[in-house]
Subunit: 81 residues, 2 copies
Amino acid sequence: MRATVLVRPKAGILDPQGQAVETSLRHLGFAVDDARVGRLVDLDVDASDAADARAQLERMCEQLLANPLIESYEIELREDG
Amino acid sequence: MRATVLVRPKAGILDPQGQAVETSLRHLGFAVDDARVGRLVDLDVDASDAADARAQLERMCEQLLANPLIESYEIELREDG
């Protein structure tokens, strides 16, 4: 099952990369605000059903993909694949 | 208008970070495959409507947020904010 995990800095956590992106975009003339940079992981999970896939992905996030102290994560599952 | 830009390595482009994530997840016992790592940017765009916001975000991607030679991008707009 194909899944996407979105990992973002939690609200209130400093995000220097987001600030750098915001500053650069403004220098380019764009009227932007509150930019935050996170990461995403697309992957295939061998799972019996969507609930199993989601449970596995939550464990992956807790163990490796995110730092739960400072990051939040969101799991998206695709119908196909 | 709040937007999210998803940036991913294009198909066929080597993704060492994705390979490292895949190897680590397998070592932890997860049956995963074809992991790819990208990044995301959440930001507020000052735009008159959704079409204007999308046009601005495409220019931001071409100029700064993505490397169009090796990365593809996807733009998501939120209804609120």
